[in-house]
């Protein structure tokens, strides 16, 4: 079973530049996470975008959508910024023969206690098991994008009421 991991930027890929005193979206981290975890999967990582998801335009979302649709792979993980993950996920809902799992992290993968490694573990597992559909794997749970939101204050995903 092959898993394709598309990266689009977001906090998970952010790296710190001291001289500018801020974070920038850097190289995709998902591949390194899987290597360090000694994952023995048939997977491939491909970068689509390198942006904070708050900066995504309609064109960016179309690019993500077109890339997923054109992908020959049926088991897909997308790493994505958390702030608009739900919005992008909703736009992907028409793919009916692919299992698409979106994930990201609240802290950069380079951060000491980042949730990135855990979340990628959850996402690649879900992508291998779940039937076709679009899912969000965050905070140890699998969410239906139509029923989920990011709770910004509490820094976690949760069900809509």
């Amino acid at each position: 079973m092959k898993i394709k991991i598309y990266t689009t930027g977001g906090t998970i890929d952010k790296i710190y530049f001291d001289q500018k005193s801020n974070y920038q979206v850097g190289d995709p981290q998902a591949g390194g996470v899987l290597e360090r975890a000694n994952a023995v999967l048939d997977y491939e990582v491909e970068s689509i975008l390198r942006k904070d998801s708050l900066d995504f335009t309609d064109e960016d979302r179309k690019l993500i959508n077109d890339t997923i649709e054109a992908s020959p792979c049926h088991r897909i993980v997308i790493t994505h910024g958390t702030d608009t993950m739900v919005e992008t996920a909703k736009g992907l809902s028409d793919n009916s023969n692919k299992t698409i799992v979106m994930t990201g992290s609240m802290y950069p993968a380079q951060y000491r206690d980042s949730d990135a490694v855990f979340n990628i573990g959850c996402a690649v597992t879900a992508a291998q098991i779940l039937p076709p559909g679009v899912y969000i794997a965050m905070n140890g749970r699998i969410f239906n994008p139509l029923q989920a939101r990011k709770n910004v204050e509490q820094n976690r995903f949760e069900d809509l009421d």
Copy 2:
């Protein structure tokens, strides 16, 4: 959905004691991993054993079995040493109304690049999704214990030929 995590020791829980120049099985690490990953699950961690799984006796395996059988929870993760994980898993195969996912790690959770966080992410995800049965979540994959083994030389789990 409630997940019960039973810990039995193994590498994942090993801690280092300098004065003795070796590792000993310490406190269960699964709870700390889930906290640091900000997992928003209804879970509970309970320690059954604290041993290297190579030292497990028939009585130890009976204790694990009895504990799982008596558990009111239907979604179960067991952290376990990797060396005899397959053996213990095979002994659990009769539970027909519980989803039981075994996991562990090749490196202690306290180790800098341990696979523990990733593996626990995989296991709790699998435990929430998979139908009743006994599974092993290691190296990013979900194995059927009857078709799996630990490849000691390559330090990873793989399918039987």
Copy 3:
């Protein structure tokens, strides 16, 4: 021998907030670093400021200066942002009976491969050994502030030509 550690903010103390997609100066990290390193020193950590050093005003520098001058301790470490560390150090040059070692880090202490732990090790060692004066401990070396600068492109401190 007592060491007083004054913290003023800077990258070393920066923490990441996902929802704002940027870093903010958080709690002083020096104490935690010394605890995790099991340092058996007579030390005390006190926070003077919590700012990016690029934002320091003349008043901020006066506050640092006044605090150091008023300090009864003769072995002092100051954690400080790297961008204006040299400038602040030059303003401290008149203290003649105190050993003052400034340090900081290019990556936040919470970062996976931060230089913070190493730099604090260098700084507390230098503060115990060196004669009175003002020094900068960065990149494994001890610099005279009058002869040092931060090389922003290469992200390290170096001697003036």
Copy 4:
């Protein structure tokens, strides 16, 4: 100023092998620590021994001694197991034109919260500053080997009474 770092094994260099369920002395870690800390020093790492220091023989100590004596470098750091660091240090006390700083760690450098990075920071700083002599840099302090011991119960170095 050139610093030569001789490695002799010990906890600092220990790595974990799951299949054997124990630790073994692996590749020297000091070089990697200095690289990750972005140390801009003229240094060179050379491995003399790879052993737990409890297993050192008289010949091993003679080898360390001979290597240090023959070294053209005057600023030397030795990484060494903590259990017999004091004993080895005492045997080196005759070198009168070299600054020799011994260090090691209570937890392997590969361990998540190891003291190795901090201790190497302390040691390279002390090696650059201190006058000729033999010193032990552990727990954030600089010890005279003739007045120091490892307190095994409390897992730290301390002054003799």
